[in-house]
Every structure is written in C-alpha cells, then in structure tokens.
C-alpha cells in the first residue's frame, strides 16, 4: 500500500483546499478589520489591506474616530459608539466564563467522584436526571428561566449568566469526569483511605492530580460554552454591566450605523480567545470529545 508521487500530490492538494476553506473566513475578517471603509467597498476586493490601518482597533479601545471616517457628505462612513462597548463585553465574557469553569471544576469533580465510586440509593436516578436535563432545547426553557431570574432580581447581572451557564455545562462535565474517574485504578485511593484519609482527601490528593487531563478538557468545554452562549445572554442582559461579547457583536452587526470594518474588528476580538484556547488545549479537547461521545 505504498503511495506514488501522484497520490501524494493529490493528498497535498486536497489538504491545501481544506486549509483555505477553514481559514478564508478568518483571514477575510482580519483583512477587513485592517482596511478603511472605502477601500473595503472597492472592486475587485483588496485581499491584502491597502491602505492598511489599525485605526479601527484604536477607535474601539480609545474612541479616536478614524480619520477616514471624517470625510463629509455622502461618502462619510458610518461609525457607532456601540463598538466602543466591546472591551466591556470582553471583560464580562471572561469573568462569567472564569466562574463557570471554576464551578464546573469544583462542583463537577465532587459530584462526579461520588457517582464514579459510590453506590447509593437514588444515585442512579440522580445521575440520569442530571444528564437527561440536557435533552431540552434552550428555547423550551428560556422564558421560565427569564421569569425565575426576574423574581430573584438577577436580570442583567453576570451572576445570573454564571448560574445558567453552569446549569447547562455541569451535566456534560459530570458525564466526562465520571467516566474519567472510573477509568482510574482504585488501589491508590483505597490505600489512602486505609491510612485514614477521608473521601474528600482521596479526591483532593490522589484522584485530582491523576485526572488533570480530564479536568483540562471539561474546563475548556465549559469556557467555550459560556463564552459562546448567545440566547440567554441576549434575553437576560441589557447593559454593559453584563452583556457578553456575542450579544454585543450581534447588536453591532445588525446596527445600520456600524461600519463593516468595525464589525470585522468585533469578530476578530471575539474569536481571538477561544481560538487560542482551542489551539493550546486541543489535545485535551479532542480526547475529551472522543471519550465522552464514544463510550456507552
């Protein structure tokens, strides 16, 4: 089954097409974010920004209106204050996602360890209940959740997003970690218990260090879910106090006063963190995905 030079060439060509297919949307958004509005509308398109400018980014972070936008008359490019809220959105997204990850790791690991090692009345039912909760589509529970948050006075707070996102990510976390803990050998924990360690100690000092790859995987998933979640963030937030990045860029993108170059800046700012995370954690993410989806 040796490959000839023709086959190798074909494989490399297919790989190139794939690479372009994956990267083209990213590269075009990056290119658009570095152009002036008038250059963006020229035909044929400038694949490489010409003239290249970082003024769109500068505007988002400092409020200096790009020179190109100060042209008077019909040629004046639209610019919107809304784009200036992006840094707040990034901050909110990071804070919310950080606490969602924290809650997933702490509560998820505690519960998963119990599910993995204990047999107790009601345990099976609780496990099935927690996992089954994810079968409901988000639309079905959106309104009642809105009502609950309103009753609790939690609308437009980061806390409400942390709670909702945690409720939506914990089932998956517990599923993956339970499988992970079950795959670890029991002997070391039992030895620790004989030496007088409590179950919490065994989890803390024996199991968790061994389970680091599993924890990294579920942490990455929880972060990506929370960072990307759109519907609940859209429904429950209304000010820069809690609006997350997806809500902000969707608002900017449907705002007729927003220049396309600023929309492109929004895209680049919103995808940078998750892309970096996916690249750094890719080994854990792939093994976590495979383990969670292919085992019974």
């Amino acid at each position: 089954m040796k490959r000839g030079p023709v086959q190798t060439t074909l494989l490399v060509a297919a790989a190139l097409v794939l690479g372009i297919m994956i990267l083209l949307p990213f590269l075009w958004a990056l290119s658009a974010s570095l152009q002036t509005e008038s250059a963006l509308f020229e035909r044929p398109p400038h694949w490489v920004p010409d003239p290249a400018t970082t003024e769109n980014y500068k505007y988002v972070f400092t409020g200096d209106v790009p020179q190109a936008y100060e042209v008077r008359g019909l040629l004046r490019s639209p610019v919107t204050q809304e784009a200036r809220t992006l840094p707040d959105g990034l901050r909110n997204s990071f804070i919310v996602a950080f606490f969602v990850v924290l809650i997933n790791l702490v509560l998820g690991a505690l519960a998963a360890y119990t599910f993995a090692r204990e047999r107790f009345r009601g345990g099976q039912a609780a496990f099935v209940f927690i996992l089954g909760s994810r079968l409901l589509p988000a639309v079905a529970v959106a309104i009642p959740i809105y009502m609950i948050l309103r009753e609790l006075g939690l609308l437009d707070t980061k806390l409400s997003l942390v709670l909702v996102h945690s409720a939506f990510t914990l089932p998956f976390t517990i599923w993956v970690l339970t499988l992970y803990f079950q795959s670890l050998p029991r002997e070391m924990e039992e030895a620790a218990r004989v030496d007088g360690a409590t179950r919490f100690d065994a989890l803390r000092y024996v199991v968790l260090p061994l389970a680091a790859p599993g924890l990294a995987a579920v942490g990455a998933f929880a972060f990506l879910f929370s960072y990307s979640e759109f519907m609940f963030a859209l429904l429950t937030t209304s000010t820069t106090n809690a609006k997350t990045v997806p809500v902000m860029i969707s608002a900017i993108s449907v705002n007729p006063d927003a220049s396309y170059t600023l929309i492109a800046v929004g895209i680049i700012l919103s995808v940078a963190a998750p892309m970096a995370l996916a690249l750094v954690f890719r080994r854990y993410i792939t093994s976590g995905l495979v383990a969670s989806l292919t085992r019974e």
């Binding site: 794939l18 297919m21 949307p25 609780a126 309104i143 519907m231 996916a278 690249l279 495979v290």
Partner: protein, 304 residues
C-alpha cells in the same frame, strides 16, 4: 445493648450519606432550578392562553395552543424549511467530516498542523461565525463575490443573503463550515483504532481502495457514524444563533427555521403558550428522530 449495636451502623451510614448527597445536591439544585422547574412551567404554559399583551386573562385551553400553531401558515413553512435545512446540512457535514478524517488519517508531513486548524471553526462563538460569513457573503463587497468574479464564474455580484432562493443555501454553507470539525474528530478517532494490518490484509486479497473503504473501514466506523448523525440532526433542527445574525428568518420566510419560529412566537408576539407548545413539538420531533436512527442502525447490524 441491642439498641446500641443497631444504631452504630446506622449512624455510620448517615454520616457517609451526608457526604454523598452533599457532593451531589448543589448540582441537583442548579439543574432543577434551571431545567426541571422551567420544563414544568413551560408544560403548564403550553396548555394555557398566555399572551403577555393580555396579562389578566389566562384561561386553561387544553391542547388549543398545539392545534393553533400546527394549523398556522408559518408552521408548515417552518417545518419544510427545517427539513430542507437538515437534509442539506446533515449529510454534507457527515460526508465532509468523514472525507476530511480520511484525508488527515494519511501520514503526510505537515498534516499535524491541519488537525489543529480543524478545531478552529468549532471553537468560536456561533454568532461570530455567522457575522464572519455575512462579511464573506455580502452583496456589495463580499469577498466570495470578488473571488468568484476574479475566477470568472459569475459576472456580477450576487446578493447571497437577500435573495430568497439563495439565502437558505448560504445559511447552510455557514453551518457546514462551523459544524464539520466535530464529526472530523470523531471519525479520525475511529479511524485510528483500525490497525493497518486489517487494511493490508484486504489489500493483499486484491480489494480495491473503494472495497477496502466500503467493507473494512466503514463498518468499523458505525459507532461514530450514529453519534454524528444524531448529534448533527439535533444541532440542525435547533439552529438559532446563525439565523439570528445572518438572515433574521428572511428574506420573507425563506430561512424561518423551526427554532426561529418558536423564538419569534415567544419573544416577538409574546405568546408564551404557543411558544411553549412549539418547543415541546420540537423536543418530541428530536426524540423521534433519535429513536429512528437507533432503530435503523440496529436493523442494519442484524441484517449484516
């Protein structure tokens, strides 16, 4: 004496179950508050007239909400659009995922970089992916138009997203781009469990490349295939974020998918009863699809 011996194990049991339930209760509480309770609430809503613009009149109407949404014009359109969307995307995503996995499974120098790149579309927020594709597909400056024109395939810019005949295809394309990484990874993992010796044996038996794929590789990928089909159908039927930023269900109703319809019934027309009824219909449809897939795969297994 008898009492003392009877209580000792009981006490031990109680202390251990304190830890046991203590570790589970926080999760149970969160999940109940944000899924069980909303579920019951929505179930009750779906049998009442609940329109927020008529707040003090909420009679019990039985299955009237279900009857009304099913007989509405938009319902038929939304069901048809969702079916079209699922038929466009699920086979494409699955086939593309399988193709890319087969490609990446070849040992060629530099392919490691590609495996890393594949995760990128999946990692970013759906909203970002949608807006990214809006920039690509824009009718006035989109780079796709520019590219096709430079290649001489089209001779004027095409408004991909504002033409009712093309909008669905455009949304499907963005969806496929975003969704193919997950199947790719699952299939790749499946392929890596197939030892080269099996394929080598088939090759020695003069099986063609297609035969090796059809009779050796494919049967061994049954488990990931089932998972991909179920998962991608669920995703296709409940797609929402993409429609929100790409088309808003339009032009007209050309991209009004089921979840978008449920969303507008609930949040635009503030008819909570009908919105809840629609979401339950959607959940039921999903469960039916999952059961059908499982049956199909099992039948195949038995006949094979």
């Amino acid at each position: 004496m008898a009492v003392a011996t009877a209580t000792r194990p009981a006490k031990r049991f109680r202390r251990s179950s304190l830890y046991t339930w203590g570790t589970i209760l926080p999760v149970l509480a969160l999940v109940s508050l944000f899924t069980l309770f909303p579920f019951v609430y929505a179930a009750v809503n779906s049998t009442r007239q609940r329109i927020l613009t008529i707040p003090y009149h909420q009679p019990f109407v039985g299955l009237e909400n279900y009857r009304e949404v099913i007989s509405s014009d938009t319902f038929g359109v939304a069901v048809r659009n969702t079916l079209v969307f699922a038929l466009l995307t699920v086979p494409t995503v699955t086939a593309l995922g399988l193709g890319v996995a087969l490609l990446l499974n070849q040992r060629v120098r530099g392919f490691g970089v590609l495996v890393a790149l594949v995760l990128l579309p999946w990692s970013i927020p759906l909203v970002s992916a949608g807006i990214m594709w809006r920039l690509l597909l824009h009718g006035n400056f989109g780079s796709l138009n520019g590219l096709l024109m430079q290649l001489g395939i089209i001779d004027s810019y095409v408004p991909w997203l504002s033409d009712p005949d093309k909008a669905m295809g455009a949304v499907a394309m963005a969806h496929v781009w975003r969704e193919f990484p997950l199947p790719t990874i699952l299939f790749l993992a499946g392929l890596q469990t197939i030892t080269p010796e099996i394929l080598e044996a088939a090759w020695l038996d003069r099986a063609t490349a297609w035969q090796r794929f059809r009779y050796v590789t494919l049967p061994l990928l049954k488990a990931p295939l089932l998972i991909v089909l179920v998962y991608e159908t669920m995703i296709a039927v409940s797609v929402f974020d993409l429609v929100y930023v790409l088309t808003g269900g339009g032009p007209g109703t050309s991209t009004t998918l089921f979840s978008w319809y449920a969303y507008t019934a609930t949040f635009k027309f503030l008819n909570l009863g009908q919105g809840a009824a629609l979401s339950f219909l959607m959940t039921a449809a999903l469960l039916i699809v999952i059961v059908i897939y499982m049956r199909l795969i099992r039948l195949r297994e038995e006949s094979a």
